[in-house]
Every structure is written in structure tokens, then in C-alpha cells.
Symmetry: C2
DNA sequence: TTAAATTCTCGACCATGGTCGACTTTTTAT
DNA sequence: ATAAAAAGTCGACCATGGTCGAGAATTTAA
């Protein structure tokens, strides 16, 4: 009767994640202790650590589900005839809204995604890859429509755009940008800069 | 005999910071406990928390000193006749080398600087301001030399460049870029993109 | 000078993330 | 069927960041 173990493991993992979704969702990440999570999942504390190496890893697993919502949301809102900049703005602002709905939650996610620890690198990269796929598809289409240079590496273009989004979010966390509108304006300006370039007109 | 208190406070603060420099330097931030720090500084644990709100705040105070070295180092190495891109590369790579000398140290600093918590926002912004001053002076001169458009807000230009640096460092922490050379190459490419712009040649 | 008021200091104490090894359950070998 | 091996579970335990209130040091008021 091989397979009993497998089955149990799957269920336990599920239980932990479900409990995480509920508790993180209700009381936030920081205010949910591992002990409470274990209790809610109906397992021992040690068990949790045999499924996840660290608390933040649970958090990332929790996020994977959530991020799909953002994509769906954004995809719905942007018509197919939107320009690249419009699409980027929609994506980034959608993400911004989601990520900063709870300031602490967003900070943690960003910290973990942008400057991951060794332990969570793997997981961060998974999440990141999905993101890159999404973005680069968007850019490729823009390229085909002639909105984007063809002699550039798409990966670097995505990186470029994402970098601008990051600095805008950072400015918000730093208190330099206060409202969502401020962030939107700044981001728009930065994207424009990246499209037009920073060299003086004559020099190009 | 007013003033005794002031004097003592100054000294205690100094003692804590000095101990921090030594212990963080010797064993790293994570491996230095507050208890040990208190012992080394010759004060009680509680006292430390009446000078700093949190451990990472001590860390940031510790960094302020350190960062000056980077600037000095970089300023020395770049001749006055270097192009903007060359200067930026020197600055960012200098910082990169410093920040990632100890991977954990750098991660912590970046996390705290880019996505600060409420408690350390103030301090992060101080550090950040000094950085911006430095960068924007660099850009202003480039503007005067005609290497940079004049119709752009310098703050946004600095933000743009710094964003590209960030994404490069992030890619290193994510394991997408492995060596310092990889980072340098990527950064160079990104900076070039930002100067030339991403629009197709005809569209500008 | 003295005593009340204010400010500062301290370490016992608390909560929590993470470890460890004894114990239980499942699998494998015979 | 049985016992040895392997895999998984558990909660007491540990280390550490941060809190708190009692008591010491300093300032102020008289």
C-alpha cells in the first residue's frame, strides 16, 4: 500500500497553506505566529518546519496564489488596443494597489522578491519568472506593432521597466510619493524618459 | 550644574555606536545580539532601546559612517574627464562591491534603504538624500557638458539611473547574474538603453 | 540644603521563530 | 507476518529582539 505517505503529505501541506491563507488574510503576516498557524492547521510546530524552511517561505507560497488575481484583474481592464505604456501603467498600478493594500504585507513581499535570502531564492525566482513571461509577452507584441525597438533584448527591456516600477514603489515607501496618483504620475514620467531616452536631441 | 545629563547621553550614544561598529564589523549584524552589544557598550539592554527604536536602526546609524568611504573611494578613481556613463558605472560598481562584500550585510542595508519600515524611514531618507545630492550634482555637470537632455527633472533622472542599478543588484541576489562582471555588463547595457531610449528610430 | 519632580538605566521578563531528538507511522526485506 | 529501516510528527526547549516598571541619577523649586 505504497502512496499513503504521499497522500498524507499532500493533505498536510494543503492544510498548512489553507490555514496560512486564512490567518495571514485575517490578521496579517506579522501578527500570525507559527504556533497559531500550527494549531489552526492541526499539526505540530515542527511539522511546519519540515514542509517550509522558514516563515517567509510560507508567505511566498501564500503569495503565489494571490498574484494570479492581479494578472487576471489587469488583463481584464486593458483593451487589446492599448499602447505599451498604457498596458505597463495598468499592470504596475494594479500591482501597486494590490501590494500596498496592506503596507506591511507589501514591504515583506517586495523585500523577499527583490533581495531574497538564500533560503527563499528558489521560490522568489519562480514567482519572478511568471512575471517576466507576462511582461515580455507584452513587450514582444509592442515590438511587432512597432512601438518598441527591435534591436533590444526583451529581458533587459522588461528589467528596465520593472526597475522604474520598483523605484516608484520605493519612493512611496520612503514617503517621497504620498498618494497613488503621485506614484502614477512619477511612473508615467519615468516610462516616458525610458522610451524617449535621456540623450540631448542632437546626440542620438 | 545643568548639562551633566546631556554630556552623559552623548557619551552613552557614542559607546553604543562604537561597540556596534566593532561587533558588526567583526561578527556581522545578524550574529551580534543586542545583549552582547549592550555588554560591549557597558550599558543595560533597556538603555540601548532608549537610544534606538530597533536593532536595524542601529545598523543604519552604523552604515552612515561607512558609506562615506564609498564616495571617497569612487571620487578618487574617476577622472574629471570621464563621461556620465563612466562616472555612473564607477559609482554603482563601487557601491556594489562594497555592499555585496558581505552578502547578508548588503541585503539588509538594501532592504532597509529601499523598502524601509515606518520606524527607520527617517534615517533611510537621510542616507538617501546624501546619495541623491551626490548623484544629481554628477548629472547636472553632465547636463552642462551637453551629455544629458536639459528638459528633464534631475531628480527623476537620478531615480531612473538608480533604478537600473537596483535591478542589477537584485538580479545578482536572485542569482540571475553571477559575477561582478555580469553585473557590470548588464548595468552598462541598461544605462545605454536609458540614454538612447526604447522607441524605434523613426518614432522619436 | 532638601525634597519633589523628572529623566534615565537596568535586567528580569515576554513572545516568537526556529531546533532537536524522542516517538509514531509507513515502507521494505525476508 | 514480522522486524528492521526510513520517513514523518511532535512539542519541550533555546536564543533573541523587544517591553516594562522599579529604582538610581539629575534637575528644579523652595
Amino acid at each position: 500500500m505504497a502512496g499513503v505517505r504521499e497522500e498524507k503529505k499532500r493533505k498536510t501541506r494543503q492544510a498548512i497553506l489553507q490555514a496560512a491563507v486564512r490567518l495571514f488574510g485575517d490578521h496579517g503576516y506579522e501578527r500570525t505566529s507559527i504556533a497559531a498557524l500550527a494549531r489552526a492547521a492541526g499539526v505540530g510546530k515542527g511539522t511546519i518546519y519540515s514542509y517550509f524552511q522558514t516563515k517567509s517561505e510560507i508567505f511566498l507560497a501564500f503569495c503565489e496564489d494571490e498574484l494570479d488575481h492581479v494578472y487576471a484583474e489587469v488583463a481584464k481592464k486593458t483593451g487589446a488596443d492599448a499602447t505599451l505604456t498604457e498596458q505597463l501603467m495598468a499592470l504596475f498600478l494594479g500591482e501597486f494597489r494590490y501590494v500596498t493594500r496592506h503596507k506591511d504585507f507589501g514591504r515583506l513581499l517586495l523585500r523577499e522578491m527583490i533581495f531574497p535570502k538564500e533560503l527563499t531564492v528558489e521560490r522568489s525566482r519562480d514567482l519572478d519568472n511568471r512575471y517576466i513571461d507576462y511582461l515580455s509577452a507584452m513587450c514582444r507584441k509592442a515590438q511587432q506593432r512597432g512601438e518598441l525597438r527591435r534591436d533590444v533584448d526583451l529581458l533587459f527591456v522588461c528589467g528596465h521597466f520593472y526597475a522604474l516600477y520598483l523605484i516608484a514603489v520605493s519612493a512611496w515607501y520612503m514617503g517621497r510619493l504620498q498618494t497613488e496618483d503621485d506614484v502614477a504620475q512619477a511612473l508615467q514620467l519615468l516610462l516616458q524618459q525610458s522610451m524617449e531616452g535621456l540623450l540631448p536631441a542632437g546626440k542620438k
